[in-house]
Protein backbone atom coordinates (compact mmCIF):
# COMPACT_ATOMS: atom_id res chain seq x y z
CA UNK A 1 0.00 0.00 0.00
CA UNK A 2 2.76 2.45 0.98
CA UNK A 3 6.35 2.09 -0.12
CA UNK A 4 8.85 4.62 1.17
CA UNK A 5 12.27 4.32 -0.32
CA UNK A 6 15.43 6.14 0.77
CA UNK A 7 13.43 9.24 1.70
CA UNK A 8 15.37 12.40 2.47
CA UNK A 9 13.64 15.54 3.72
CA UNK A 10 14.68 18.89 5.11
CA UNK A 11 12.92 21.47 7.26
CA UNK A 12 14.27 25.02 6.90
CA UNK A 13 17.25 23.54 5.02
CA UNK A 14 18.09 21.24 7.91
CA UNK A 15 18.21 17.56 6.95
CA UNK A 16 15.82 15.60 9.17
CA UNK A 17 14.98 12.43 7.22
CA UNK A 18 18.18 10.82 5.96
CA UNK A 19 17.35 7.79 3.89
CA UNK A 20 14.20 6.32 5.41
CA UNK A 21 12.75 3.17 3.87
CA UNK A 22 9.55 1.42 4.92
CA UNK A 23 6.95 -0.79 3.28
CA UNK A 24 3.42 -1.11 4.63
CA UNK A 25 1.04 -3.67 3.17
CA UNK A 26 -2.74 -3.69 3.39
CA UNK A 27 -3.98 -5.30 6.59
CA UNK A 28 -0.91 -4.29 8.60
CA UNK A 29 -0.43 -2.05 11.58
CA UNK A 30 3.02 -0.56 11.96
CA UNK A 31 4.41 1.43 14.86
CA UNK A 32 7.29 3.84 14.58
CA UNK A 33 8.95 4.71 17.84
CA UNK A 34 11.91 6.89 18.50
CA UNK A 35 13.49 9.47 20.75
CA UNK A 36 12.64 13.17 20.52
CA UNK A 37 14.15 14.75 17.43
CA UNK A 38 14.48 11.47 15.54
CA UNK A 39 12.20 12.78 12.77
CA UNK A 40 8.88 11.12 13.70
CA UNK A 41 6.66 14.14 13.14
CA UNK A 42 8.70 15.18 10.10
CA UNK A 43 7.92 11.81 8.55
CA UNK A 44 4.19 12.32 9.16
CA UNK A 45 4.18 15.89 7.79
CA UNK A 46 6.33 14.98 4.79
CA UNK A 47 3.94 12.18 3.85
CA UNK A 48 1.02 14.56 4.37
CA UNK A 49 2.64 17.21 2.15
CA UNK A 50 2.93 20.04 4.65
CA UNK A 51 4.49 23.19 3.12
CA UNK A 52 8.00 23.70 4.47
CA UNK A 53 8.81 19.99 4.55
CA UNK A 54 10.96 19.57 1.49
CA UNK A 55 11.74 16.22 -0.05
CA UNK A 56 15.35 16.21 -1.25
CA UNK A 57 15.62 12.58 -2.29
CA UNK A 58 13.95 9.19 -2.43
CA UNK A 59 10.33 8.30 -3.15
CA UNK A 60 7.00 7.43 -1.57
CA UNK A 61 4.44 5.42 -3.51
CA UNK A 62 0.87 5.10 -2.25
CA UNK A 63 -1.36 2.52 -3.96
CA UNK A 64 0.90 2.66 -7.00
CA UNK A 65 0.82 6.47 -7.33
CA UNK A 66 3.59 8.95 -6.58
CA UNK A 67 2.45 10.32 -3.22
CA UNK A 68 5.00 13.13 -3.18
CA UNK A 69 3.67 14.50 -6.45
CA UNK A 70 0.17 15.06 -5.03
CA UNK A 71 -1.23 18.15 -3.30
CA UNK A 72 -2.18 17.57 0.35
CA UNK A 73 -5.92 17.50 -0.43
CA UNK A 74 -5.32 15.02 -3.26
CA UNK A 75 -3.48 12.73 -0.84
CA UNK A 76 -6.55 12.83 1.39
CA UNK A 77 -8.84 11.99 -1.53
CA UNK A 78 -6.50 9.12 -2.43
CA UNK A 79 -7.18 7.65 1.02
CA UNK A 80 -4.48 9.03 3.29
CA UNK A 81 -5.39 10.35 6.73
CA UNK A 82 -3.00 12.26 8.94
CA UNK A 83 -3.83 12.35 12.64
CA UNK A 84 -2.21 15.44 14.12
CA UNK A 85 -0.20 15.56 17.30
CA UNK A 86 -1.57 19.07 17.83
CA UNK A 87 -4.95 19.33 16.06
CA UNK A 88 -5.59 22.86 14.84
CA UNK A 89 -8.41 25.07 16.15
CA UNK A 90 -10.59 26.70 13.50
CA UNK A 91 -12.84 29.36 15.08
CA UNK A 92 -16.10 30.00 13.26
CA UNK A 93 -16.17 26.70 11.34
CA UNK A 94 -18.22 23.90 12.89
CA UNK A 95 -16.99 20.31 12.86
CA UNK A 96 -20.11 19.27 11.01
CA UNK A 97 -19.68 21.84 8.24
CA UNK A 98 -15.93 21.23 8.00
CA UNK A 99 -16.16 17.45 7.84
CA UNK A 100 -19.08 17.38 5.45
CA UNK A 101 -17.28 19.70 3.05
CA UNK A 102 -14.06 17.72 3.47
CA UNK A 103 -15.77 14.39 2.86
CA UNK A 104 -17.69 15.67 -0.15
CA UNK A 105 -14.53 17.26 -1.60
CA UNK A 106 -12.85 13.87 -1.30
CA UNK A 107 -15.83 12.11 -2.87
CA UNK A 108 -15.86 14.63 -5.72
CA UNK A 109 -12.14 13.95 -6.25
CA UNK A 110 -12.92 10.24 -6.52
CA UNK A 111 -15.86 10.79 -8.83
CA UNK A 112 -18.45 9.83 -6.20
CA UNK A 113 -21.78 11.46 -5.40
CA UNK A 114 -21.80 13.95 -2.50
CA UNK A 115 -23.43 12.87 0.75
CA UNK A 116 -26.67 14.66 1.68
CA UNK A 117 -26.86 16.61 4.94
CA UNK A 118 -29.08 13.93 6.49
CA UNK A 119 -26.85 11.05 5.44
CA UNK A 120 -23.79 12.90 6.66
CA UNK A 121 -25.34 13.55 10.08
CA UNK A 122 -26.25 9.87 10.39
CA UNK A 123 -22.65 8.92 9.60
CA UNK A 124 -21.21 11.52 11.98
CA UNK A 125 -23.49 10.38 14.80
CA UNK A 126 -22.41 6.78 14.34
CA UNK A 127 -18.68 7.60 14.37
CA UNK A 128 -18.98 10.02 17.28
CA UNK A 129 -20.76 7.28 19.22
CA UNK A 130 -17.91 4.91 18.48
CA UNK A 131 -15.46 7.29 20.15
CA UNK A 132 -17.77 8.23 23.01
CA UNK A 133 -18.09 11.80 21.76
CA UNK A 134 -21.27 13.82 22.25
CA UNK A 135 -22.85 14.91 18.97
CA UNK A 136 -23.18 18.40 20.46
CA UNK A 137 -19.38 18.68 20.39
CA UNK A 138 -19.45 18.19 16.63
CA UNK A 139 -21.72 21.18 16.23
CA UNK A 140 -19.09 23.39 17.84
CA UNK A 141 -16.19 25.03 15.97
CA UNK A 142 -13.38 22.65 15.06
CA UNK A 143 -11.27 21.91 18.17
CA UNK A 144 -12.06 25.28 19.74
CA UNK A 145 -12.23 24.94 23.51
CA UNK A 146 -11.58 21.19 23.32
CA UNK A 147 -9.25 19.71 25.93
CA UNK A 148 -6.15 17.87 24.72
CA UNK A 149 -7.93 14.53 25.11
CA UNK A 150 -11.08 15.77 23.35
CA UNK A 151 -9.00 16.94 20.40
CA UNK A 152 -7.50 13.47 20.02
CA UNK A 153 -10.92 11.85 20.23
CA UNK A 154 -12.19 14.33 17.65
CA UNK A 155 -9.30 13.37 15.37
CA UNK A 156 -10.44 9.77 15.52
CA UNK A 157 -14.05 10.77 14.85
CA UNK A 158 -12.79 12.61 11.78
CA UNK A 159 -10.90 9.49 10.75
CA UNK A 160 -14.05 7.41 11.17
CA UNK A 161 -16.07 9.78 9.01
CA UNK A 162 -13.45 10.15 6.28
CA UNK A 163 -12.80 6.39 6.23
CA UNK A 164 -9.22 6.40 4.86
CA UNK A 165 -7.22 3.48 3.46
CA UNK A 166 -4.08 4.44 5.34
CA UNK A 167 -3.94 6.35 8.62
CA UNK A 168 -0.74 7.95 9.83
CA UNK A 169 -1.33 8.82 13.47
CA UNK A 170 1.19 11.18 15.02
CA UNK A 171 1.30 10.81 18.81
CA UNK A 172 -2.42 10.23 18.99
CA UNK A 173 -1.89 8.85 22.50
CA UNK A 174 -0.37 12.00 23.97
CA UNK A 175 -2.69 13.91 26.27
CA UNK A 176 -5.01 10.94 26.84
CA UNK A 177 -5.82 9.50 30.24
CA UNK A 178 -6.20 5.74 30.59
CA UNK A 179 -9.94 5.64 29.90
CA UNK A 180 -9.61 7.84 26.83
CA UNK A 181 -6.66 5.76 25.66
CA UNK A 182 -8.83 2.64 25.79
CA UNK A 183 -11.64 4.32 23.88
CA UNK A 184 -9.30 5.74 21.25
CA UNK A 185 -7.49 2.41 20.91
CA UNK A 186 -10.78 0.59 20.43
CA UNK A 187 -11.82 3.24 17.90
CA UNK A 188 -8.66 2.77 15.85
CA UNK A 189 -9.19 -0.99 15.84
CA UNK A 190 -12.82 -0.70 14.79
CA UNK A 191 -12.21 1.86 12.07
CA UNK A 192 -8.88 0.74 10.66
CA UNK A 193 -8.27 -2.93 11.38
CA UNK A 194 -9.33 -4.42 8.05
CA UNK A 195 -7.70 -6.43 5.32
CA UNK A 196 -7.78 -3.48 2.90
CA UNK A 197 -6.54 -0.83 5.32
CA UNK A 198 -3.33 -0.03 7.13
CA UNK A 199 -2.10 2.12 10.02
CA UNK A 200 1.19 3.78 10.81
CA UNK A 201 1.26 4.68 14.50
CA UNK A 202 3.89 7.21 15.46
CA UNK A 203 4.42 7.17 19.16
CA UNK A 204 6.88 7.87 21.90
CA UNK A 205 5.52 5.35 24.36
CA UNK A 206 4.50 1.74 24.38
CA UNK A 207 1.18 2.28 26.17
CA UNK A 208 -1.02 2.83 23.09
CA UNK A 209 0.38 -0.41 21.69
CA UNK A 210 -1.30 -2.30 24.56
CA UNK A 211 -4.61 -1.38 22.93
CA UNK A 212 -3.65 -1.31 19.26
CA UNK A 213 -1.38 -4.31 18.74
CA UNK A 214 1.11 -3.58 15.97
CA UNK A 215 2.30 -6.25 13.55
CA UNK A 216 5.62 -4.46 13.13
CA UNK A 217 7.58 -2.06 15.29
CA UNK A 218 10.32 0.18 13.89
CA UNK A 219 12.81 2.35 15.70
CA UNK A 220 13.55 5.69 14.10
CA UNK A 221 16.80 7.42 15.05
CA UNK A 222 18.52 10.33 13.34
CA UNK A 223 16.25 10.27 10.31
CA UNK A 224 16.29 6.58 9.41
CA UNK A 225 14.93 3.30 10.65
CA UNK A 226 17.63 1.57 12.64
CA UNK A 227 15.78 -1.52 13.82
CA UNK A 228 12.58 -3.35 12.97
CA UNK A 229 10.85 -6.20 14.73
CA UNK A 230 7.58 -7.39 16.20
CA UNK A 231 5.66 -6.09 19.21
CA UNK A 232 8.41 -7.41 21.50
CA UNK A 233 10.66 -4.60 20.28
CA UNK A 234 8.35 -2.00 21.82
CA UNK A 235 8.45 -3.86 25.13
CA UNK A 236 12.25 -3.98 25.00
CA UNK A 237 12.30 -0.22 24.43
CA UNK A 238 10.03 0.39 27.38
CA UNK A 239 12.25 -1.79 29.56
CA UNK A 240 15.69 -0.72 28.44
CA UNK A 241 15.28 2.74 26.87
CA UNK A 242 16.13 3.97 23.39
CA UNK A 243 19.87 4.32 23.93
CA UNK A 244 20.27 0.65 24.94
CA UNK A 245 18.12 -0.79 22.18
CA UNK A 246 19.57 1.40 19.42
CA UNK A 247 23.12 0.52 20.50
CA UNK A 248 22.38 -3.23 20.72
Amino acid sequence: MLTISNLHATVADKPILKGLSLTINAGEIHAIMGPNGAGKSTLAYTLGGRPGYEVTGGSATFEGADLLDMEPHERAAAGLFLGFQYPVEIPGVSNVQFLREALNSQRLGRGEEPLSAADFLRLAREKAGLLGMDMEMLKRPVNVGFSGGEKKRAEMVQMGILDPRLAILDETDSGLDIDALKTVGAGINTIMRASDKAVLLITHYQRLLDYVRPDFVHILADGRIVRSGGPELALALEREGYAEVIAA
Binding site: A76, V93, S105
Partner: protein
Protein backbone atom coordinates in the same frame (compact mmCIF):
# COMPACT_ATOMS: atom_id res chain seq x y z
CA UNK B 1 -32.79 75.09 2.12
CA UNK B 2 -30.30 77.30 0.33
CA UNK B 3 -27.62 75.60 -1.66
CA UNK B 4 -24.71 75.45 0.73
CA UNK B 5 -21.19 76.11 -0.39
CA UNK B 6 -19.70 72.93 -1.80
CA UNK B 7 -17.41 71.11 0.57
CA UNK B 8 -13.78 71.69 -0.24
CA UNK B 9 -11.98 68.86 -1.98
CA UNK B 10 -10.34 66.72 0.69
CA UNK B 11 -6.61 66.07 0.84
CA UNK B 12 -4.64 63.51 2.80
CA UNK B 13 -3.79 66.26 5.27
CA UNK B 14 -7.40 66.01 6.47
CA UNK B 15 -7.24 63.57 9.34
CA UNK B 16 -10.38 61.71 8.22
CA UNK B 17 -8.92 61.25 4.72
CA UNK B 18 -5.34 60.41 5.56
CA UNK B 19 -5.48 56.84 4.18
CA UNK B 20 -8.05 57.49 1.47
CA UNK B 21 -7.90 57.57 -2.31
CA UNK B 22 -8.34 61.32 -2.75
CA UNK B 23 -7.65 61.12 -6.49
CA UNK B 24 -10.70 58.89 -6.91
CA UNK B 25 -12.72 61.23 -4.70
CA UNK B 26 -11.65 64.22 -6.81
CA UNK B 27 -13.17 62.61 -9.88
CA UNK B 28 -16.65 62.76 -8.41
CA UNK B 29 -16.39 65.80 -6.16
CA UNK B 30 -18.49 67.39 -4.87
CA UNK B 31 -20.47 64.73 -3.04
CA UNK B 32 -24.05 64.76 -1.83
CA UNK B 33 -24.89 66.30 1.49
CA UNK B 34 -24.78 63.83 4.40
CA UNK B 35 -27.89 61.76 4.81
CA UNK B 36 -29.62 62.81 8.01
CA UNK B 37 -31.19 60.21 10.22
CA UNK B 38 -33.10 61.02 13.38
CA UNK B 39 -34.13 58.28 15.77
CA UNK B 40 -36.92 59.53 18.00
CA UNK B 41 -36.72 58.97 21.76
CA UNK B 42 -37.46 55.34 22.58
CA UNK B 43 -37.62 54.33 18.94
CA UNK B 44 -35.63 51.42 17.50
CA UNK B 45 -34.42 51.63 13.91
CA UNK B 46 -32.33 49.39 11.71
CA UNK B 47 -30.27 50.38 8.70
CA UNK B 48 -28.81 47.92 6.22
CA UNK B 49 -26.30 49.35 3.81
CA UNK B 50 -24.75 47.31 1.01
CA UNK B 51 -22.22 49.37 -0.93
CA UNK B 52 -21.66 47.38 -4.11
CA UNK B 53 -20.94 50.05 -6.70
CA UNK B 54 -19.47 49.00 -10.04
CA UNK B 55 -15.74 48.59 -10.44
CA UNK B 56 -14.15 51.95 -11.13
CA UNK B 57 -16.83 53.99 -9.37
CA UNK B 58 -16.05 56.30 -6.47
CA UNK B 59 -18.64 56.41 -3.71
CA UNK B 60 -18.82 58.60 -0.65
CA UNK B 61 -21.78 58.04 1.66
CA UNK B 62 -21.91 60.36 4.65
CA UNK B 63 -24.44 59.95 7.46
CA UNK B 64 -25.32 62.24 10.29
CA UNK B 65 -27.35 60.48 12.96
CA UNK B 66 -29.07 61.69 16.07
CA UNK B 67 -30.40 59.10 18.46
CA UNK B 68 -32.89 60.44 20.99
CA UNK B 69 -33.10 59.37 24.63
CA UNK B 70 -33.53 55.60 24.95
CA UNK B 71 -33.53 55.18 21.16
CA UNK B 72 -31.60 52.53 19.28
CA UNK B 73 -30.03 52.35 15.85
CA UNK B 74 -28.58 49.10 14.54
CA UNK B 75 -26.50 49.43 11.38
CA UNK B 76 -25.27 46.59 9.20
CA UNK B 77 -22.78 47.63 6.56
CA UNK B 78 -21.20 45.60 3.81
CA UNK B 79 -18.74 47.79 1.95
CA UNK B 80 -17.24 46.07 -1.09
CA UNK B 81 -17.80 48.07 -4.32
CA UNK B 82 -16.03 50.73 -6.35
CA UNK B 83 -12.47 51.98 -6.60
CA UNK B 84 -13.21 54.11 -3.57
CA UNK B 85 -15.96 53.07 -1.20
CA UNK B 86 -16.15 55.44 1.71
CA UNK B 87 -18.88 55.34 4.34
CA UNK B 88 -19.00 57.68 7.29
CA UNK B 89 -21.23 57.94 10.35
CA UNK B 90 -21.38 60.93 12.63
CA UNK B 91 -23.56 59.86 15.53
CA UNK B 92 -24.80 61.78 18.53
CA UNK B 93 -26.30 59.76 21.35
CA UNK B 94 -28.69 61.23 23.91
CA UNK B 95 -29.30 59.79 27.38
CA UNK B 96 -29.61 56.01 27.40
CA UNK B 97 -29.41 55.74 23.61
CA UNK B 98 -27.75 52.79 21.88
CA UNK B 99 -25.80 52.62 18.62
CA UNK B 100 -24.70 49.36 17.11
CA UNK B 101 -22.59 48.90 13.99
CA UNK B 102 -21.56 45.63 12.38
CA UNK B 103 -19.50 46.14 9.28
CA UNK B 104 -17.40 44.22 6.79
CA UNK B 105 -15.00 45.83 4.32
CA UNK B 106 -14.05 43.36 1.59
CA UNK B 107 -11.55 44.67 -0.93
CA UNK B 108 -9.45 43.35 -3.79
CA UNK B 109 -7.44 44.69 -6.73
CA UNK B 110 -6.71 48.39 -6.13
CA UNK B 111 -9.84 49.20 -4.11
CA UNK B 112 -9.84 51.57 -1.19
CA UNK B 113 -12.66 50.79 1.20
CA UNK B 114 -13.10 52.76 4.33
CA UNK B 115 -15.33 53.40 7.25
CA UNK B 116 -15.10 56.51 9.37
CA UNK B 117 -17.18 56.79 12.51
CA UNK B 118 -17.48 59.59 15.01
CA UNK B 119 -19.60 58.76 18.03
CA UNK B 120 -20.59 61.51 20.38
CA UNK B 121 -21.78 60.19 23.72
CA UNK B 122 -23.32 63.51 24.67
CA UNK B 123 -25.35 62.42 27.69
CA UNK B 124 -25.16 59.79 30.43
CA UNK B 125 -26.05 56.10 30.12
CA UNK B 126 -25.66 55.74 26.36
CA UNK B 127 -24.05 52.64 24.93
CA UNK B 128 -22.39 51.80 21.65
CA UNK B 129 -20.92 48.70 20.10
CA UNK B 130 -18.96 48.70 16.85
CA UNK B 131 -17.61 45.52 15.28
CA UNK B 132 -15.67 45.97 12.05
CA UNK B 133 -13.96 43.25 10.02
CA UNK B 134 -11.84 43.90 6.95
CA UNK B 135 -10.37 41.56 4.35
CA UNK B 136 -7.95 42.96 1.80
CA UNK B 137 -6.38 41.18 -1.16
CA UNK B 138 -4.26 42.34 -4.09
CA UNK B 139 -3.34 46.01 -3.70
CA UNK B 140 -6.50 46.88 -1.78
CA UNK B 141 -6.55 49.16 1.23
CA UNK B 142 -9.09 48.92 4.02
CA UNK B 143 -9.38 51.67 6.60
CA UNK B 144 -11.27 52.10 9.81
CA UNK B 145 -11.12 55.41 11.61
CA UNK B 146 -13.22 55.28 14.72
CA UNK B 147 -13.50 58.19 17.06
CA UNK B 148 -15.44 58.08 20.31
CA UNK B 149 -16.10 61.26 22.23
CA UNK B 150 -17.51 61.10 25.71
CA UNK B 151 -18.78 64.48 26.81
CA UNK B 152 -18.27 65.92 30.25
CA UNK B 153 -21.00 64.55 32.45
CA UNK B 154 -21.82 61.61 30.13
CA UNK B 155 -21.35 59.18 33.01
CA UNK B 156 -22.00 55.45 32.67
CA UNK B 157 -21.14 55.59 28.99
CA UNK B 158 -20.33 52.12 27.71
CA UNK B 159 -18.59 52.17 24.33
CA UNK B 160 -17.01 49.15 22.67
CA UNK B 161 -15.12 49.12 19.42
CA UNK B 162 -13.35 46.22 17.74
CA UNK B 163 -11.51 46.14 14.42
CA UNK B 164 -9.90 43.07 12.92
CA UNK B 165 -8.29 42.93 9.51
CA UNK B 166 -7.00 40.08 7.45
CA UNK B 167 -4.49 40.64 4.67
CA UNK B 168 -4.37 38.05 1.90
CA UNK B 169 -1.41 39.48 0.01
CA UNK B 170 1.77 41.34 0.90
CA UNK B 171 0.60 44.24 -1.25
CA UNK B 172 -2.70 44.67 0.61
CA UNK B 173 -3.05 47.10 3.49
CA UNK B 174 -5.21 47.80 6.51
CA UNK B 175 -5.20 50.97 8.55
CA UNK B 176 -6.88 51.36 11.90
CA UNK B 177 -7.17 54.53 13.89
CA UNK B 178 -9.10 54.18 17.10
CA UNK B 179 -9.42 57.45 18.96
CA UNK B 180 -10.95 58.07 22.35
CA UNK B 181 -11.68 61.48 23.82
CA UNK B 182 -13.11 61.05 27.26
CA UNK B 183 -14.22 63.92 29.45
CA UNK B 184 -16.18 61.94 32.03
CA UNK B 185 -14.73 59.74 34.76
CA UNK B 186 -17.25 56.94 35.23
CA UNK B 187 -17.25 55.32 31.77
CA UNK B 188 -16.32 52.07 30.08
CA UNK B 189 -14.58 52.29 26.70
CA UNK B 190 -13.11 49.12 25.24
CA UNK B 191 -11.31 49.07 21.95
CA UNK B 192 -9.14 46.61 20.11
CA UNK B 193 -7.51 46.45 16.70
CA UNK B 194 -5.56 43.66 15.05
CA UNK B 195 -4.21 42.84 11.62
CA UNK B 196 -3.41 39.27 10.64
CA UNK B 197 -3.04 36.78 7.83
CA UNK B 198 -4.69 33.47 7.04
CA UNK B 199 -3.63 30.78 9.50
CA UNK B 200 -1.24 28.55 7.54
CA UNK B 201 -1.50 25.73 10.06
CA UNK B 202 -5.28 25.76 9.65
CA UNK B 203 -4.98 25.76 5.85
CA UNK B 204 -2.77 22.66 5.91
CA UNK B 205 -4.99 20.98 8.47
CA UNK B 206 -8.02 21.56 6.24
CA UNK B 207 -6.15 20.35 3.15
CA UNK B 208 -5.10 17.20 4.99
CA UNK B 209 -8.80 16.44 5.44
CA UNK B 210 -9.42 16.82 1.72
CA UNK B 211 -10.43 20.45 1.24
CA UNK B 212 -8.93 22.06 -1.88
CA UNK B 213 -6.91 25.20 -1.03
CA UNK B 214 -9.44 27.66 -2.51
CA UNK B 215 -12.28 26.15 -0.50
CA UNK B 216 -10.23 26.03 2.70
CA UNK B 217 -9.36 29.70 2.25
CA UNK B 218 -12.97 30.64 1.58
CA UNK B 219 -14.15 28.78 4.70
CA UNK B 220 -11.63 30.62 6.86
CA UNK B 221 -12.63 33.97 5.38
CA UNK B 222 -16.33 33.25 5.81
CA UNK B 223 -15.60 32.33 9.41
CA UNK B 224 -13.72 35.60 9.87
CA UNK B 225 -16.81 37.66 9.09
CA UNK B 226 -19.29 35.08 10.36
CA UNK B 227 -21.96 36.34 12.66
CA UNK B 228 -21.79 39.98 11.57
CA UNK B 229 -25.06 39.79 9.68
CA UNK B 230 -26.78 36.93 11.49
CA UNK B 231 -28.92 39.23 13.62
CA UNK B 232 -30.44 41.14 10.70
CA UNK B 233 -34.21 40.99 11.14
CA UNK B 234 -35.08 41.20 7.47
CA UNK B 235 -34.45 37.70 6.17
CA UNK B 236 -34.28 38.66 2.49
CA UNK B 237 -31.85 41.45 3.28
CA UNK B 238 -29.74 39.07 5.38
CA UNK B 239 -29.56 36.60 2.50
CA UNK B 240 -28.59 39.42 0.13
CA UNK B 241 -25.71 40.40 2.44
CA UNK B 242 -24.53 36.81 2.86
CA UNK B 243 -24.63 36.16 -0.89
CA UNK B 244 -22.84 39.39 -1.75
CA UNK B 245 -20.14 38.68 0.84
CA UNK B 246 -19.67 35.13 -0.38
CA UNK B 247 -19.33 36.01 -4.05
CA UNK B 248 -16.93 38.84 -3.21
CA UNK B 249 -14.79 36.45 -1.14
CA UNK B 250 -14.73 33.97 -4.01
CA UNK B 251 -13.57 36.77 -6.31
CA UNK B 252 -10.71 37.63 -3.96
CA UNK B 253 -8.78 34.49 -4.94
Amino acid sequence: MNAALPLPLPTRKDEAWRYSDVEAAARIWSVDKPKRLVVAPGEALALALLQDADAGAAVVLDHVVEIGAGGTLAVHLLNLGGTLGRVTFDVTLARGAHFELKAALLGGEAQTLELVTTLRHAEPDATSDQRVRAIAAGRATTNYLGQIQVARGAQKTDAAQSFKAMLLDRTAAANAKPELEIFADDVKCAHGASVGELDRAALFYMASRGLPPARAKALLLEAFIAGLFDDMDDEAERARFHDAARSKLEALE
